[in-house]
Amino acid sequence: MKAFEMRLPASLEEAIALLPTAEGDESSRLVAGGQDLLTELKHHLVEPERLVNLKSIPGLAGATWGSDGSLTLGALTTLQDIYEDERIVTTFPALAEAARSVASPQIRAVGTIGGNLNQRPRCWYYRAEEMVCLKKGGRECFSQFGRNKYNAILGAGPSWIVHPSDTAPALVALNASVEIVGPNGKRTSSMQDYFTLPSSGNVLRETTLAPNEVLTRITIPAPAKGSKSTYLKFKERSSYDFAVGAVALNLTLDGRKITAARIVLGAVAPTPWRVEEVEARLIGRDLNDETIELAREGALAGAAPLSENGYKVPLTKGLITRAFRAISRS
């Protein structure tokens, strides 16, 4: 990798002052666990002059519970610390399951929740230095007509990447919000609105985060009474893999009756893919096979597969079925 300067700021303000202001300026980058950034550096996908290490700033890691039962996670909380927290496991199973499903134990021990949300795509073409694809300032998304087994079937175009994060769909399903600090202070965003589609946002990025902003905290509201959540990830290789399809499901039940639902698909679209119109149709219905079929078929109704990824449609339907059944049994 290219040599770089490592800065250890003592405060967020200091960190932000070290970041570039102009869109597209990659000369300075944030680093926390480094599990995605290091691979980008090694493969020369980015070659910053300077890394700004968030680990030197106090107070960015750890879980804090609000008196109302909400949970706030510092962006530097490691994935391992999330799924080893018993209260998180019982209160927000979808998040704990998502964190546990990431990569390998070594990566989960250092990889952070903030980094997991901000990681870059895994598309073969994006990760190949020589391929100047749309995501890297080129004119074409090569996966559209090239090799696309792992690419998007929903919400795609003009780029067909899938968002690789496991925790993102879980957090969208749990109605989380994020705190972002920039030169002009704090702003908050829903987790869902944090992610941008290539058709509506900057195709070079996957989120609304500006080059000189830092994602600092994630807050999950207290679960409603009767709510149950789960995250089901499908890996081609169980030992260590990114998702080929995933479902984060958060249902609130009154007996068997669904009173609230959030269904978010992972690894099938350029963002965590929430199917709000399907969620709305489930309200008031009993949780039974008919409802599951409605959810499964509705969620994938708009799928537009490419030449090699049509299997993601039945696969994701299978996962949705399993996720609903898991909640039904729990």
Partner: protein, 719 residues
């Protein structure tokens, strides 16, 4: 060389008398490997060493307009930068031909910077020539030019009478007509290819990661312009070869050239991406079968047409039918050449590919005539050994209690289904002459067993000591093994599973000679006859029961060192390995995920020299086949001729979560009067058994590897 005349009276001990061979022995190289003390070629560090690195063009076919190494040479710390082979106008294929420059620097990081600083200007050709369609297009150029030139698609020639076969097929009770395919697979050696070359004072020591220590000397001598007597090759540990590490390769040649140019030690190992691009592969193939069976369970006819995909190589595939008996066959096999690196030998070249096609057809035929696939196999196999072995794995996998033996099962309410499948293997193994072994015994009881043979991680180091220890009644650690160094007595290359069959007899020969020489001393000391002493528990006894400790026996040598040289003894080895495997899988019919629950493999090998090492070999074969069956595949962009699966994230191999319960069975019914290599046969049929188990579970016949969810769902009719 000719076999020695000792062959008549050098034999292996009787099975009942063995105390070390045919038992579990902890490998001598184990502690060094698990503690990190074992040094591989990658780890060699020599004072004043430089790190060399190759520069590759990433596309399969390009016109080259510029290769400028000056910017690299100008970097601080860079000691060498040269255009490879004086330059060329075009890159013709992805692989060795992609190499356009070589650089060397004081550190690996600087070498990488230097490689990136080389200015390349090129223009990809319109036709990247990486698919069958591309190489058979009207305007496609010939990939192979010159003396070994030929068309891009070449037939090997047909065998059998097609009309006879078609006639029989027309009257068969069950007929299968299907296409099968296997992709190009990589060896994925954990240690990439390369070497360290230390040239000093007109002599060289080379540390390659190699499957052949002795035979490497001549190659490196020639590349360095030295006499063979001035070249020493050392490989103490190696991180995987699987058939891909015989020659020095272009990387070895580059290391030698840089060493000659800079007159400093040179370290040149491929990086992971280069390993995928230019370190060889197992050829892929497409296989079309039209086969028929009679209702009494016999395969009556088979028509097979197959193509091998070995890049610039011809590929490997035994002519069908593979192993099974067929009354009439017609087979036509050909090669499709593409602009990628040539296939190399990889664990039983051609056999795992042939196994997948043939075992699938056999399985499909069995169900087509309503037969239990196990019974159908037994009706169509010639070897009694296979029949015995199939029964054993069937017992172990639970076939007799399995509910779906004549037709596939159905998924349960949750979409899960379990099934069992089978496959068999055969492999030549055997031996190659040329192995030696020197045994030295000192008066203080020190025993050394020395030979240049390499240990690919499979256990040769341990039996180099173990065979001598057995003969002299010593514990394993009573003998010091010296291997992996060309100054030691020469040995054979490790290919075709011949190492054990070639090397073990030479060790036994040296051991028996040493024992007899000591016995000649004992005759004078305590009386008795040569060949009538008992060596056991560190003691030797004559027929009357008079004993000496081993050390006291050695003291009879006085000031002399006893040295014997063993040679290959043909009567101590045999060829022809047989195996059978069974797999039990769980198929998730909602997602297409396949979990292998259990695999069973039985293998014959004559006398097992170290039962623990042999079981590890068998486990390794099952793991390799599982990975081949479920995950591994070279992926290229066809428009660019660009490899996409060039890292271990994208080229998936099985990991710990994929490991099934594995039962490795040594075939103790085999004749123990000879020994043979066990390696390659174990990797032949596992993936076939898994494919057959998937069908048996749920009726999804997956005819194309790897059996990833997309293919399983397609076979289930769900996408």
């Amino acid at each position: 060389m000719s076999p020695s005349n000792r062959e008549a009276d050098v034999v292996w001990k009787d099975r009942k008398d063995l105390t070390l061979l045919n038992t579990d022995q902890v490998r001598l190289d184990g502690p060094g490997k698990v503690t990190g003390h074992a040094l591989y070629s990658h780890d060699i560090r020599i004072p004043n060493m430089v790190y060399a690195r190759l520069v590759l063009v990433p596309y399969s076919r390009t016109k080259l307009t510029k290769v400028d190494v000056a910017p690299a040479a100008a970097l601080a710390g860079v000691v060498h930068a040269e255009v490879w082979d004086g330059g060329k106008e075009a890159v013709q294929f992805l692989g060795d031909d992609s190499v356009v420059a070589v650089v060397a620097a004081e550190t690996p990081e600087l070498a990488e910077d230097a490689a990136r600083a080389v200015i390349l200007e090129f223009e990809p050709e319109d036709n990247p020539m990486v698919t069958r369609g591309q190489v058979t297009a009207n305007d496609a150029p010939r990939l192979r030019q010159g003396r070994r030139g030929g068309p891009n698609v070449e037939e090997d020639g047909a065998r059998g009478d097609e009309e006879d076969v078609l006639e029989l097929l027309a009257t068969a009770d069950g007929v299968v007509e299907q296409d099968y395919s296997v992709p190009i697979q990589h060896h994925v050696c954990l240690e990439t290819h390369g070497c360290v070359v230390h040239l000093e004072g007109g002599k060289a020591t080379v540390y390659p990661s190699t499957q052949m220590v002795s035979d490497s000397v001549g190659m490196y001598a020639s590349m360095l312009g030295l006499s063979q007597r001035d070249v020493r090759v050392i490989c103490q540990n190696m991180g995987g070869g699987f058939g891909s590490k015989f020659g020095a390769g272009l990387e070895g040649l580059a290391a030698c050239r840089v060493a000659l140019a800079v007159e400093r030690p040179v370290h040149l190992m491929l990086d992971r991406r280069q390993e995928f691009l230019m370190a060889g592969n197992r050829s892929g193939s497409t296989q079309s079968y039209h086969a028929g069976a009679s209702k009494d369970g016999k395969i009556v006819a088979l028509k097979a047409t197959a193509e091998k995909y070995g890049g610039m190589g011809g590929g490997a595939l035994p002519t069908p039918p593979y192993i099974y008996e067929v009354k009439k066959r017609y087979a036509q096999v050909g090669s499709v050449y593409t602009a990628m690196d040539a296939n190399r030998a990889m664990r039983a070249p051609g056999h795992p590919q042939a196994s997948f096609g043939m075992e699938s057809v056999v399985d499909e035929l069995a169900y087509s005539v309503g037969f239990d696939p196990l019974e159908f196999r037994k009706l169509n196999l010639d070897s009694e050994v296979h029949l015995r072995q199939l029964d054993r794995v069937a017992l172990e996998i639970g076939w007799n209690e399995h509910p779906n033996r004549k037709e596939p099962g159905k998924p349960d309410a949750d979409g899960m289904a379990e099934g069992i499948g089978f496959g068999v293997s055969q492999w030549g193994a055997g031996a190659r002459p040329g192995a030696h072994c020197e045994v030295r015994i000192e008066a203080d009881g020190s025993v050394t067993s020395s030979v240049a043979v390499q240990d690919l991680g499979t256990g040769s180091r341990t039996y180099v000591a173990g065979i001598v220890a057995e003969e002299l009644g010593l514990p394993l650690h009573g003998v010091t093994a010296k291997i992996g160094d060309s100054v030691l007595p020469s040995s054979v290359a490790s290919g075709g599973s011949v190492t054990t069959g070639s090397q073990a007899p030479a060790i036994q020969d040296a051991a028996v000679q040493a024992r007899r020489a000591l016995e000649a001393k004992l005759v004078d000391a305590i009386g008795g006859e040569v060949d009538a002493f008992t060596w056991k528990n560190g003691e030797v006894a004559n027929a009357d029961g008079q004993k000496l400790s081993f050390r006291d026996a050695c003291a009879l040598l006085g000031g002399e060192t006893l040295t014997t040289m063993g040679e290959f003894q043909p009567n101590l080895h045999s060829g022809g390995a047989h195996g059978a495997q069974a797999a039990r899988v769980r198929v998730d019919t909602l997602t297409g995920h396949v979990q292998v629950l259990k695999m069973v493999c039985i293998q014959d090998m004559g006398l097992p020299l170290n039962r623990a090492a042999v079981r590890s070999q068998i486990n390794g074969g099952m793991i390799g086949a599982l990975s081949y069956g479920l995950f591994e595949e070279r992926v290229l962009d066809h428009d660019f001729g660009f490899m996409l699966s060039d890292q271990l994230e994208d080229y998936k191999i099985a990991g710990i979560q994929e490991m099934p319960e594995m039962v490795a069975i040594i075939d103790d019914d085999d004749d123990f009067s000879t020994t043979k290599g066990v390696a390659e046969a174990t990797g032949i049929p596992g993936h076939s058994a898994i494919a057959n188990a998937i069908y048996n579970a749920c009726g999804a016949r997956v005819r194309h590897l790897p059996m990833t969810p997309d293919k399983v769902l397609a076979a289930l009719g769900r996408s």
